[in-house]
């Protein structure tokens, strides 16, 4: 499940949805990991806004999910990213993964957020200036390329 939306999301509801996605006769979920990204307060109360490329964003996120499912045994994947005006402490992004075992859930969750930050066409604007991409984020995405 991939959603790009202006509205906030509720982590408890997303957690329940992750578990409910396990529709097999036996309950197979042994682990659920969740990542929530938040707007930090830079102290100068500038307007903060998230823009995206509608259509391509969803395609990229679907491709990242497909790749994660090839690498790990996953049951459910939920990715939500907000767009529009946001304020300090607001939730920006949610990545939730369920699997039989925690190793797959931990690794896939980290992979999904690392690749999202490096490949999904979202841009942050603080006040009048666009946030610059960080080399450290590129490095985090790159290290998955040679660890299959």
């Amino acid at each position: 499940m991939i959603r790009v939306q202006r509205e906030d999301f509720d982590v408890q509801s997303e957690y329940q949805a992750l578990l409910q996605a396990d529709s097999s006769e036996r309950f197979n979920t042994g682990a659920a990991t969740m990542f929530v990204g938040l707007v930090r307060d830079f102290g100068d109360s500038k307007a903060f806004e998230l823009k995206h490329y509608p259509g391509m964003t969803e395609k990229v996120l679907e491709r990242i999910e497909t790749e994660a499912r090839k690498r790990w045994q996953l049951l459910s994947v939920r990715i939500i990213h907000r767009v529009g005006p946001l304020s300090p402490a607001d939730q920006i992004v949610f990545v939730g993964v369920s699997s039989r075992h925690r190793a797959d859930a931990f690794a896939a969750c980290e992979y999904l957020i690392d690749l999202l930050k490096n490949q999904a066409p979202f841009w942050k604007k603080e006040g009048e200036h666009w946030v610059e991409a960080k080399q450290s984020d590129a490095q985090r995405a790159l290290r998955w390329m040679d660890s299959r």
């Binding site: 930050k117 066409p121 942050k124």
Partner: protein, 83 residues
């Protein structure tokens, strides 16, 4: 043939537009389109050839030799900063 071009974030501001339609005689590559748009001036050359600038054709990341055909949706944008 007609193609549409989208510009996002800092690139849209630098180039003063976020969308345009372009009429072309025939299909061309991303590199050729950049050269064509670069004729508009130094600002365009600089923005489009910046090492960080990404290009997508029909919402897929494109390379210099990616073909652009009739009806294509081309997008230029800076490195992404979501999450």
């Amino acid at each position: 043939m007609t193609i549409s071009i989208l510009y996002f974030a800092k690139l849209a501001e630098l180039l003063g537009r976020d969308e345009e339609k372009l009429e072309l005689a025939s299909s061309l590559t991303v590199a050729e389109l950049k050269a064509l748009l670069g004729e508009r001036g130094e600002q365009w050359q600089k923005a489009l050839n910046d090492s960080g600038t990404r290009c997508a054709v029909n919402q897929e990341i494109a390379q210099a030799d990616t073909a652009i055909t009739a009806g294509a949706e081309v997008a230029f944008f800076p490195p992404v900063t979501g999450g």
